[in-house]
C-alpha cells in the first residue's frame, strides 16, 4: 500500500515535470511564431525591405518605415555600450586582479543592488539628473541647443544600467584566467599592468566580447528608462543631442492606439519581432562563445 502510494506520487510528479519541461521548450517557439503570425499582415502589404529601410512613418496611410526607429535604437545602444565599456573593464580588472577577495565580497552587494533597481527608477533618476546635465551643461559646451531629452541622455542612463549586468559577466570571465599564466608573466619581469594588458585581457578576449554582446542585446531591448529620457520624436537623428525614438519606446508609447488604426497592431508586433530577432542573434553568439570558454577551463 505504502509502496503503491509512493510509486503513484512518483508517476504523478514525473508527469508534472514532463508538462513543465515541454512548456519551457515550447515557449520561445510560441513567442516567435505568434509575433511572426501577427506581423505577417504588415509584411505582406509593405514588404520586408520597405519596412526596414524606409523612413516614411504614416500609420494612418498604412506606411510603416522603421528606419528612424532602428537608427535611434542603434545610436542609443552603441553610445551606452561605449560609455559603459571602460568603467566595466577597469572595475572588473581591479576587482579580480588587484583587489582582495574581501573587496569583491564588499562590492558584490553594491553590484547586485544596482542590478535590482527597476528601470523606471533609472528613468526618474535620468529625468532628474542626466537630462538637465545634458541640456544645461553638455550641449552648450558644444554650442548646441538641446532640451536635454536626447540620444545622449538615453545612452548615459543606459550605460549606468548596463554596468552591473556586464560587470558581473566580466568578473566571471576574468576569474577563469589561470593564476599560473599571470604569475609566469610577472616572473619574467613584466609589470602588473603589462601582465593584464598582454596576458589577462588577451586570454579572456572571447569572454569579454561575449559579455559586451550580451550587454548589447540587453541595451537594445531596454524600454522604459530610455523612453523617459530620449525625447520620442519620429525622425532619423543626426547627432547625439537630437531626440530619438528607439523601437521599444515606439511599442510602449503606442499600445493604446494600436487597435484603432488598421495594421498598426501588426506593425508594432513587427517592431517586437525585430527586437526579438536582434536580441536572440547576439545572445546566441555570445552564449556559444561563453560555453566554448567554459569547456576549455
Amino acid at each position: 500500500m505504502a509502496l503503491k502510494f509512493r510509486k503513484f506520487k512518483d508517476r504523478f510528479s514525473s508527469l508534472w515535470i514532463k508538462i513543465a519541461l515541454f512548456f519551457v521548450v515550447l515557449l520561445p517557439v510560441v513567442i516567435t511564431l505568434s509575433l511572426l503570425y501577427k506581423s505577417s499582415v504588415v509584411l505582406e502589404t509593405n514588404g520586408l525591405k520597405e519596412l526596414l529601410f524606409s523612413s516614411v512613418w504614416r500609420p494612418l496611410a498604412g506606411q510603416f518605415g522603421f528606419w528612424p526607429f532602428i537608427v535611434s535604437s542603434l545610436w542609443v545602444t552603441i553610445l551606452g555600450l561605449l560609455i559603459t565599456a571602460p568603467i566595466c573593464m577597469f572595475s572588473a580588472i581591479f576587482l579580480t586582479q588587484y583587489g582582495s577577495a574581501r573587496l569583491l565580497r564588499f562590492m558584490q552587494p553594491v553590484i547586485d543592488i544596482l542590478a535590482g533597481i527597476p528601470s523606471v527608477i533609472y528613468g526618474v533618476w535620468g529625468i532628474l539628473i542626466i537630462v538637465p546635465m545634458v541640456g544645461r551643461y553638455l550641449a552648450p559646451l558644444f554650442g548646441i541647443e538641446s532640451t536635454g531629452f536626447s540620444i545622449l541622455a538615453g545612452g548615459l542612463v543606459l550605460s549606468v544600467m548596463l554596468i552591473p549586468f556586464i560587470l558581473n559577466i566580466l568578473i566571471e570571465v576574468f576569474k577563469t584566467v589561470p593564476v599560473e599564466l599571470s604569475e609566469a608573466s610577472l616572473s619574467l619581469g613584466a609589470t602588473k599592468w603589462q601582465t593584464i594588458k598582454f596576458v589577462v585581457v588577451r586570454k579572456s578576449f572571447a569572454g569579454i566580447t561575449s559579455a559586451f554582446g550580451l550587454g548589447l542585446s540587453r541595451a537594445f531591448g531596454e524600454t522604459i528608462a530610455v523612453l523617459m529620457v530620449v525625447g520620442n520624436v519620429v525622425g532619423v537623428p543626426k547627432g547625439i543631442f537630437d531626440p530619438g525614438y528607439p523601437l521599444p519606446a515606439l511599442i510602449a508609447n503606442n499600445y493604446g492606439e494600436m487597435l484603432s488604426i488598421p495594421m498598426y497592431d501588426s506593425a508594432l508586433m513587427f517592431a517586437a519581432l525585430i527586437l526579438l530577432v536582434v536580441v536572440m542573434f547576439f545572445n546566441f553568439l555570445s552564449r556559444v562563445v561563453i560555453i566554448r570558454l567554459e569547456k576549455k577551463v
Binding site: 508534472w16 505568434s34 577597469f90 532628474l128 511599442i251 552564449r287
Partner: protein
C-alpha cells in the same frame, strides 16, 4: 619611465571606476530619496486616489502598491509551479544526460535575454487570442513568463552544486526520484530557492514593459483576477507624465516607495541566503 606612468595612470583609472560603482548607487538612491521623501506621507500609502487626485487633490497610491504586490506574488506562484519541477528534473532525472540539460540551459539563457517589452507584446497577443481582457490575470501570466527563466536558472545554479554522492546515497536507500527531489534536493537547496523566488519577485515588481499592455490601469484595488489593476512602476510613469507639479511630486514619492520595496527584497535575499545555510548537510 613611461611604463611607470602608464602603470600608475591605469591603476588610478581602475580605482576611480570601482569607486564610481558605489557613487552611482548612492547618487541614484540619494536623488530618489531627496526628491521623494518630502512628499511621502501616510496618506500616500494608505489611501486610493480620490476624485481630482490627478489634479493634485487628496488621495494616495495604495491601489498601485497592492496591485504590484498581487501581480508579482501571483506571477511568482505560477512561475514556481513550473520552474521547480524543471530545475529539479535538470539536476535529478536528467542528471546523466549532460547534452540535453546543457541544451535546456541554453534555451533558458536565451529566454532570459528576451526584453520584457517583447514578453509584453507576446502577452498581449496571447490575451487577444484567448479572449481575456486587460486584467490582473493577464498581467500575472505575462510576468510569470518573464520571470520563469530567471527562476529556473537561479535554482539550477544552486542545485548543480549539490554533491552527487548525497543524491546517490538517497537512491541507494530506496527512495523514489520524487522523494529524492523533495526530501533531499529541495531541503538541501532551500536558501537558493528562497533567493531565486525573491530575485524573481523583485524583477516582477519593478518591470513596466511587460505589464504595460496587459494589466490596464485603475484607481481601485482589484478584488478579482479579472479586474484591471494599477502597478507601482506604472503609477510612477503615468504621474511623471502629468504637467501638474503636485502630481509629478507624487511620482517621486511613488518612486521612493518602489525603491524601498526593492531594497527590502534585495536585503532579505541576502539575509535568507545566509540564515538557512545552517541546516544543510555539508
Amino acid at each position: 619611465m613611461w611604463r611607470k606612468i602608464e602603470e600608475k595612470a591605469f591603476y588610478y583609472l581602475m580605482v576611480i571606476s570601482t569607486v564610481s560603482l558605489g557613487f552611482f548607487l548612492l547618487l541614484i538612491v540619494a536623488t530618489i530619496v531627496y526628491r521623494g521623501l518630502p512628499y511621502l506621507s501616510w496618506e500616500m500609502i494608505s489611501q486610493t486616489p480620490k476624485g481630482g487626485y490627478y489634479f493634485g487633490r487628496e488621495g494616495g497610491i495604495l491601489n498601485a502598491i497592492i496591485g504590484s504586490l498581487y501581480l508579482s506574488s501571483g506571477a511568482v506562484i505560477i512561475a514556481l509551479v513550473i520552474s521547480l519541477p524543471v530545475s529539479l528534473a535538470m539536476n535529478i532525472h536528467l542528471k546523466r544526460r549532460k547534452k540535453l540539460v546543457n541544451g535546456l540551459r541554453f534555451i533558458l539563457d536565451l529566454l532570459w535575454g528576451i526584453p520584457s517589452i517583447v514578453y509584453g507584446a507576446f502577452g498581449f497577443t496571447l490575451m487577444i487570442y484567448l479572449g481575456i481582457k486587460a486584467s490582473l490575470l493577464a498581467g500575472i501570466i505575462t510576468v510569470a513568463f518573464f520571470i520563469l527563466p530567471i527562476m529556473i536558472r537561479s535554482m539550477d545554479e544552486v542545485m548543480k552544486n549539490v554533491p552527487l554522492s548525497l543524491i546517490e546515497s538517497a537512491f541507494a536507500l530506496g527512495s523514489t526520484r520524487t522523494e529524492v527531489a523533495f526530501k533531499v534536493m529541495v531541503r538541501q537547496t532551500f536558501p537558493g530557492i528562497i533567493t531565486a523566488v525573491l530575485l524573481a519577485f523583485g524583477r516582477g515588481i519593478g518591470d513596466v514593459a511587460a505589464v504595460l499592455f496587459t494589466t490596464g490601469y485603475t484607481d481601485n484595488i482589484p478584488t478579482s483576477l479579472m479586474q484591471q489593476t494599477a502597478t507601482l512602476p506604472l503609477a510612477v510613469f503615468f504621474q511623471l507624465g502629468s504637467p501638474i507639479p503636485e502630481v509629478q511630486n507624487r511620482a517621486y514619492a511613488a518612486a521612493l516607495i518602489l525603491t524601498i520595496i526593492i531594497l527590502v527584497v534585495s536585503i532579505s535575499t541576502r539575509y535568507f541566503g545566509k540564515r538557512f545555510r545552517k541546516t544543510l548537510i555539508k
